[in-house]
Symmetry: C2
Subunit: 119 residues, 2 copies
């Protein structure tokens, strides 16, 4: 019960839904998330952690990078259609699409993208 409440809490935030939507396209490190969604590092990190704690994300550390990706099993533990529901709810929402270019740019730049892309 407490666990289900926690899962719903994790989902009841716009930033986290945007993150989920982004990660559904492909796994990202923290700095890619902050670039793509145009949010602060603290905000990206904290909300990724929250989703991870709720069991919705997998984490793989690679050097300086923390690579987060969707944990399908975790996402569908309670709702077999949760992934589709989130995707559908964000459909037509330009929030993620808008920044796709920045995301590609961050990917291209690689480590150092945070400070280098700030300007």
């Amino acid at each position: 019960m407490r666990e289900l409440v926690k899962a719903f809490k994790a989902l009841s935030d716009e930033t986290r839904l945007r993150i989920l939507s982004l990660l559904m396209e492909r796994g990202c490190c923290v700095c890619e998330v902050m670039q793509a969604l145009d949010i602060s590092q603290t905000r990206a990190s904290r909300n990724l952690s929250a989703l991870y704690d709720a069991g919705f994300l997998k984490l793989r550390k690679d050097g300086l990078w923390s690579l987060y990706s969707i944990d399908r099993d975790g996402m569908e533990k309670y709702f077999s259609n949760l992934v589709d529901a989130v995707r559908k709810a964000l459909e037509g929402n330009k929030v993620v699409d808008m920044d796709r270019e920045r995301l590609r740019e961050a990917e291209r730049v690689g480590p150092g993208c945070v400070t280098r892309m700030r300007k």
Copy 2:
């Protein structure tokens, strides 16, 4: 998007999940909910309102009574299996079952049950 956040918010509270679980068995008026779950009138009323605002409940007024019941369409707008998920998550949880007797009692007593059953 905002709407989906609102729906998740409504679900991310233990009291509200208990209420949903109760209403899945059968529609209840506010005083039956407070009796069955042993919560205050304010708490029952407020949380029922929240679930109603989120589109999960239907409301029928009958004299003094406000009869709330599950709105299947609202519940399954995003998640076709939401009803089952909540039910399953609460399975084995004695919280509701414990008070089934009080609920029957409230139903038997009818109007006046709040004050009469307080003693």
